[in-house]
Amino acid sequence: MPQLNAVPLSWYLMLSAILFTLGVAGFLFRRNIITVFMSIELMLNAVNLSFVAFSHHLRQVDGQIFTFFVMVVAAAEAAVGLAIILTVFKNRRTLSIDEVSSLKN
C-alpha cells in the first residue's frame, strides 16, 4: 500500500503508456484527417509526460527542456499540417483519408 503523498513513478509512466496507446488507436481506426492529426498530438503529449516524469526522477532539468522542444516542434507541425489539410480539402473537397489515395499503387 503506497503512502498517500508519494505516487510511484511507474504510475506516471503507465499513464503515459495508456495515453500513447489511445493515440495509436485513434491514428489507426479513425478516418477523418483532422482526428488522425489530433491523435498524433495525443501521442506527443504522452511522450512529454514520460520526459517530465524522468526529469523529476533524475533530478535534472534536461527532460523538461526536451519537452519544451517537443512542444515547439508540435506547434510548427500543427501549423504546416493544418495548411496541408486546407490545401487537400481545397483540391479534393473531402476530409476522409480513404479518398486521398493518389500515391497508392
Binding site: A17, F29, F37, M38, Q64, F69, V72, L82, I85
Partner: protein, 165 residues
C-alpha cells in the same frame, strides 16, 4: 493528497483520451483533447514542472487547439462516414494494441522497484532553471528551433495562400 490528485486527473486524462478516439464528430475529439491537455498540465505541476505546466496550457491547450478548432469550423467538418476498412485492421488492430500496452505494462512492472516514488515539492523547477539551461547548455538547439519555426510560418503561408492569377 498527491495520490488523490494524481488518480483524479489521470482518470480525467484517460477518459478524455478514450472520448477522443470514439467521438464521431471532430469538434468532440478536439474538446476531448483539450481535456487531456488540461489534466496533463495539473500532472506536470504534481511533478514540480511549473514552467512546463504553464507552457502546456498556453501553447498546447491555447494556441494549437485554437488552430485545430478554427480549421474544423473553416472546413465545416461533419461527422465522419464509416468506410469499409481493410480486414487486417479490423481483425488485428485491437489485439495488437492490447499486446503493445501489455508489453509496456510488463516492462514498467519489471522496472518499477528501482524507480522509487514522486513526492510533490521534492524537485521544483520554475522558469529560472529552465531558462538558465536553455540559454547555456542548449543554446544551439534553441536557435535551430527558432529557424524551424520561421520555416514553418513560411510553409504554412505558402501552402494556405490563395492562388493569384
Amino acid at each position: 493528497m498527491d495520490l488523490i490528485l494524481f488518480a483524479f486527473f489521470a482518470t480525467i486524462a484517460v477518459a478524455c483520451g478514450i472520448s477522443l478516439v470514439v467521438q464521431k464528430h471532430p469538434i468532440g475529439s478536439a474538446l476531448s483533447l483539450i481535456g487531456v491537455m488540461g489534466s496533463l498540465a495539473v500532472i506536470y505541476l504534481l511533478l514540480g514542472a511549473e514552467f512546463i505546466a504553464a507552457v502546456q496550457l498556453i501553447v498546447y491547450a491555447g494556441a494549437i487547439m485554437v488552430l485545430f478548432v478554427f480549421v474544423i469550423m473553416l472546413l465545416n467538418a461533419g461527422e465522419e462516414t464509416a468506410t469499409g476498412r481493410s480486414w487486417p485492421t479490423r481483425l488485428l488492430g485491437i489485439p495488437l494494441l492490447a499486446v503493445f500496452l501489455g508489453l509496456l505494462a510488463y516492462l514498467l512492472q519489471r522496472m518499477s522497484p528501482s524507480m522509487g516514488t514522486v513526492t510533490f515539492g521534492a524537485f521544483n523547477t520554475g522558469a529560472r532553471e529552465i531558462g538558465r539551461s536553455l540559454f547555456s547548455k542548449y543554446l544551439l538547439p534553441f536557435e535551430v528551433t527558432s529557424v524551424l519555426v520561421l520555416i514553418a510560418i513560411l510553409g504554412a503561408i505558402v501552402l494556405a495562400r490563395k492562388e493569384i492569377d
